[in-house]
């Protein structure tokens, strides 16, 4: 019987990093000649047909079928995974520490706390544990996972190979400097600090500038309201709270951006950094969590949150010159390490280690 590596995710959602990783892995596994399906509890309407129901997974109980569980937050799916008789691989995408959600959403904080407890209890239920980054892997090791390894997020360039939306792009091609932040409006991303950097840039360096904040605020509405109030208190204009963006809209914003700003204080990987580098957008990012690893020296790594100085740095990065060109070139080189063809041999090694 041919071997298979199936994947289990609580949600298969459009635009979600974990879902994209599952889809990319499925392509790579099939390319290796293995059977590979995705099983999910909930599937976005845009991804109907891409995943099968979790109930169907019971029919695949076999030693020749490994199950990879993408774990990121407390979920009922963990119980399904725990009871599987198959060889099992846990992929840890990190759980945001619950403290970040204090004063924003108690239920999400509780889910994160539950997720961390569930993760610890999964020690005995993984033939192998994988993490997106060394930062995540160290968390697994600290929890007592015996066999752990790193397999990063795959950047599939085909997802971004599309033309930008002309009617969206046109009004912003006006000579202004465009800054970009992509990601859900969540407290650990410290979007208030992105606003403070932008405040000094726009007020004291270049008023012809704007900031795009692309990302949804689902479950984080209190945080989003607090951000709006901060924008008001700072008397700041030039900010576009874009909200949800389609893939083509996202591509358009990356193409419009002169620099990517990230002030996050907790990241298990941070996919938008890769996306920015892929589009030739220089990255300015605070050194926290897995950010230095993901950047791999290919961006401006912020070590201390001195807002006027970061704004000044943003000015230097956005103007034509050696600094900008060097960051763009380094970013383009860096993303090559995350392309499917670069990661295929590593995936083969991992699959081989499931059945030694």
């Amino acid at each position: 019987m041919p071997r298979s590596v199936h994947q289990l995710v609580p949600n298969l959602a459009f635009g979600d990093a974990i879902s994209q990783q599952a889809l990319a892995l499925r392509r790579m596994l099939r390319h290796m000649g293995l059977g590979s399906e995705i099983f999910a509890e909930h599937v976005d309407t845009q991804l109907t047909g891409e995943a099968r129901s979790i109930r169907e997974l019971r029919g695949h109980a076999s030693g020749d079928t490994a199950v990879v569980y993408h774990f990121s937050i407390g979920s009922e799916v963990t119980d399904v995974y725990r009871l599987l008789p198959n060889p099992r691989v846990l992929v840890y995408h990190n759980i945001t520490p619950p403290e970040f959600f204090r004063g924003v959403n108690a239920q999400v904080a509780a889910l994160c706390a539950r997720g961390r407890d569930e993760l610890a209890a999964l020690r005995a239920h993984a033939t192998l544990a994988l993490a997106d980054s060394e930062f995540n892997r160290r968390e697994l090791e600290a929890l007592g996972f015996k066999r752990s390894s790193v397999f990063p997020i795959v950047l599939d360039p085909d997802r971004y190979a599309m033309r930008p939306i002309a009617r969206l792009e046109r009004p912003y091609r006006d000579g202004h400097v465009n800054f970009l932040h992509v990601g859900r409006l969540v407290p650990n991303k410290r979007i208030e600090d992105v606003l403070k950097v932008f405040y000094f840039y726009r007020r004291r360096i270049n008023p012809d500038s704007r900031l795009f904040l692309v990302g949804i605020d689902t479950d984080m509405e209190i945080y989003a309201v607090a951000l709006r109030q901060l924008i008001h208190d700072l008397g700041l204009s030039g900010i576009a709270l874009v909200g949800r963006a389609t893939q083509r809209e996202l591509v358009t914003y990356y193409r419009l951006a002169h620099a990517y700003l990230c002030m996050s204080e907790h990241e298990g990987f941070c996919v938008p950094l890769l996306e920015a580098m892929h589009f030739g957008v220089p990255v300015i990012a605070y050194s926290a969590g897995a950010v230095p690893e993901t950047l791999g020296g290919a961006g401006a790594l912020v070590l201390r949150k001195d807002f006027p100085e970061i704004a000044e740095l943003a000015g230097v990065v956005c103007e034509p010159g050696r600094v900008r060109e060097s960051l763009i070139a380094a970013g383009r080189e860096r993303v090559r390490a995350f392309l499917p063809e670069s990661l295929q041999p590593r995936l083969q090694q991992i699959v081989d280690s499931i059945w030694p």
């Binding site: 004063g103 959403n105 004291r204 209190i222 050194s287 100085e309 740095l313 230097v316 600094v323």
Partner: protein, 129 residues
Amino acid sequence: MTAPASTFRIVGEVGREAEETVRGRLADRYARGVIDRDEVARVAALRLHTFEGNEAASEVFRRCCVTWQVDREAPITSHRPVVGPLFVTVKRLVRRLLRFQTEAQLSRQRDFNWNLLLVLRELLERERR
């Protein structure tokens, strides 16, 4: 006297170039009074006004935060394979046609909701205190 530790790091020769440029420009802006230290301290000290109430009140407030923006348009999508794109186009057209009639009212309602939201948070927090 040693130079203060840098705020950022860029790998290679350009990193040193960037550091020198940033430091020089920033010193110049401070010297010319374009940026003043009081403003820097004030902005750095600004904290987000989240909600420190009990769980039930917090959930009530969160729900208000979900719905205050009455003019926020939900995305129009369809999962139907053939007729779906047509439905989406028609719905978008209808929305565009009706927008001019609803825009002003929704905008007023949105402003009202926003102010009410801030008052509500203040009241809930006062009650907690």
